[in-house]
């Protein structure tokens, strides 16, 4: 069950925490083990014609590294993308997110932001309606300087807990005629990694993060995300989908402490 995988990875991360990742990264490739743990050793097919994963070659801010997943199936292809799993191999919790694409929403692009702890391969694995997995990857260098995959302003991060924002963007040359929309959901949440020790108790602070997000247009599912601690503070998902003419957009997020955040917005028909 994917939910337990996120936790498993976190626990593994605790044990690995003291190891110098610089050397670990060069010494062994964690990918075969991750294929086993996350994908049950299912065969990985070449996904270069199916999916793209775009990241900057160097992470500028370790806590906020943009990543874009893009489906590449041609319009005539009868297969559909069911889900996309994002894996950041060298992170303490490598399984960053699993996105499930709504059956009728034709989601073609998903952008979010992740934490990157180290020089690492980043894999995107798409599961298609043919029942097969398709993989593609990129490589990201960790950031330099005093950048860290931790909160910049820890008090403010807590203060924003549960705030949700929805925004719709205009798309040049498209818009309401084709039904293609670009929208964004922001959730205020510290998405705390938990990989830090309390100075007084000498115990690890428990992880506290958004582990489930669901988005609907009216009652039709657009996108879901199962997330882990590799997703940046204040989870932010920007995506392209096709409108079914719905009048409302709805989001529901849950976190590891059992909070449920829900909100609904009216969709602006102008497409802006």
């Amino acid at each position: 069950m994917p939910g337990s995988l996120f936790r498993l990875s976190v626990v593994a991360g605790l044990f690995l925490f003291g190891a110098p990742p610089a050397r670990a990264a060069e010494a062994n490739d964690p990918w075969p083990g991750l294929v086993q743990d996350i994908f049950n050793n299912r065969p990985m097919n070449d996904g270069s014609d199916v999916i793209a994963v775009e990241m900057p070659s160097r992470a500028e801010d370790a806590a906020i590294v943009p990543v874009t997943l893009r489906t590449k199936l041609s319009p005539g292809d009868s297969r559909q993308v069911l889900s996309i799993t994002l894996v950041i191999d060298q992170n303490p919790a490598p399984m960053a997110a699993k996105f499930q694409l709504g059956p009728d929403a034709k989601v073609s692009e998903i952008s979010t932001r992740v934490r990157v702890n180290n020089y690492t391969d980043v894999h995107a694995v798409a599961e298609l309606s043919d029942g097969k997995l398709y993989m593609t990857k990129t490589y990201v260098k960790a950031s330099g300087g005093c950048s860290a995959p931790a909160a910049k302003n820890a008090d403010e991060a807590k203060g924003r807990l549960g705030q949700m924002r929805y925004r719709q963007f205009g798309r040049a040359g498209e818009g309401s005629a084709s039904g293609a929309r670009e929208a964004q959901i922001m959730i205020g949440h510290p998405n705390n990694s938990g990989l830090q020790m309390d100075q007084v108790t000498q115990l690890y602070v428990p992880a506290f993060f958004v582990n489930e997000l669901r988005l609907w247009q009216d009652d039709s599912l657009v996108l879901t995300m199962e997330g882990g601690i590799s997703i940046s503070e204040d989870p932010n998902i920007r995506f392209t989908y096709v409108s079914n003419g719905a009048k409302t957009f709805r989001a529901e997020a849950k976190d590891t402490e059992g909070h449920v955040f829900q909100r609904e917005w009216k969709i602006d028909d102008s497409g802006i």
Binding site: E60, N117, S143, C146, A148, P149, K152, A154, D155, F169
Partner: protein
């Protein structure tokens, strides 16, 4: 004969080793005003070659005791700073003050751990070091190497400052002030009242591109009050010792430009991947611009989009 030669050779090696250690031992410091000493860090990233000595660090000598302000980017730099202090005064080091938690300012702390020395920092500093300390050690191993990193210990403060705190060095009062999130979320300044010298930590950058690791709106928000502090001169975290408050002008312009450009990108619906175009007009005015500007803009974007 053979034995004498061996002894001679051993002595020669010892002499060489001692000489090279003696050369390395003292961190170069300037006496910028009565009793205030500053090492001006290189404007660079921390590397094996520079031993992490990229930040300004210093010390203030009172009638009774010494306060150290930041300890440098390696234990080696901390030891060299200690040697520079001991070459000038035998008074006890009563306080080690960290202006914030970045590695170039705190990695030398371990050189000062001894009875009678109290580590002082912003009330948020222990949390920041807990969240980031191990990551910094791992990350800088790559650029600084095992030899420099292996001996570093993260030493958090035990005397914590929220609001302000006065420290007495004997006929010399240091006024410490903890700031809301700005450069980082644990910025602390130290004002030597006797000479009007402000150790601003990384709340003030000159020449070195300012680095945003806290809150851009917070940083712009504190500049007014910071500039009103009764100082004659500032020791910035990076860059030359300068007149106060004129030293703030370049940084204020950079941060205002960055915030304004990022706000424009957010308003027009650009994605965060476009953030690096912000503050392009500042490129020629700063060193290390390409190392830090996109990172600053990315951080500013993720903050300003919540406005």
């Amino acid at each position: 004969m053979a034995r004498a030669a061996l002894i001679m050779a051993a002595l020669a090696m010892l002499a060489t080793a001692t000489a090279s250690r003696a050369q390395q031992q003292e961190l170069p410091v300037n006496s910028i005003v009565d009793g205030v000493f500053v090492h001006n860090g290189q404007t660079a990233q921390m590397t094996r070659e520079n031993g992490g000595a990229i930040a300004n660090v210093g010390f203030i000598v009172g009638e009774d005791a010494v306060a150290v302000i930041d300890t440098g980017g390696s234990l080696r730099e901390g030891r060299q700073l200690m040697a520079a202090i001991r070459a000038r005064t035998g008074k006890p080091i009563r306080y080690v003050i960290n202006t914030h938690g970045h590695p170039d300012h705190v990695f030398g702390n371990g050189a000062f751990v001894q009875n009678g020395t109290t580590f002082v920092g912003h009330a948020n500093l222990p949390r920041a070091l807990a969240a980031r300390g191990q990551f910094y050690l791992d990350a800088f191993r790559r650029t600084m190497g095992d030899q420099l990193i292996d001996e570093i210990r993260i030493v958090p403060p035990t005397l914590l400052v929220s609001g302000s705190l006065n420290l007495d060095l004997g006929a010399r009062t240091l006024v410490l002030r903890a700031w809301p999130a700005a450069h980082s979320d644990c910025d602390l300044t130290v004002l030597d009242e006797k000479t009007g010298t402000l150790f601003a930590g990384d709340l003030v950058f000159l020449a070195h591109t300012p680095v945003l690791d806290g809150s851009i709106r917070g940083w712009l928000g504190v500049l007014g009050e910071l500039g009103a502090l009764p100082a004659q001169r500032v020791v910035p975290g990076h860059g030359p010792v300068s007149g106060w408050p004129a030293a703030l002008a370049d940084e204020r312009r950079y941060l205002q430009t960055l915030a304004s450009d990022v706000r424009g990108l957010v308003t027009s619906g650009k994605p965060i991947t476009a953030a690096g175009t912000a503050a392009g007009s500042e490129r020629s005015r700063w060193e290390l611009f390409d190392d830090f500007n996109t990172r600053n803009a990315t951080a500013a974007f993720s903050e300003i989009e919540w406005e």
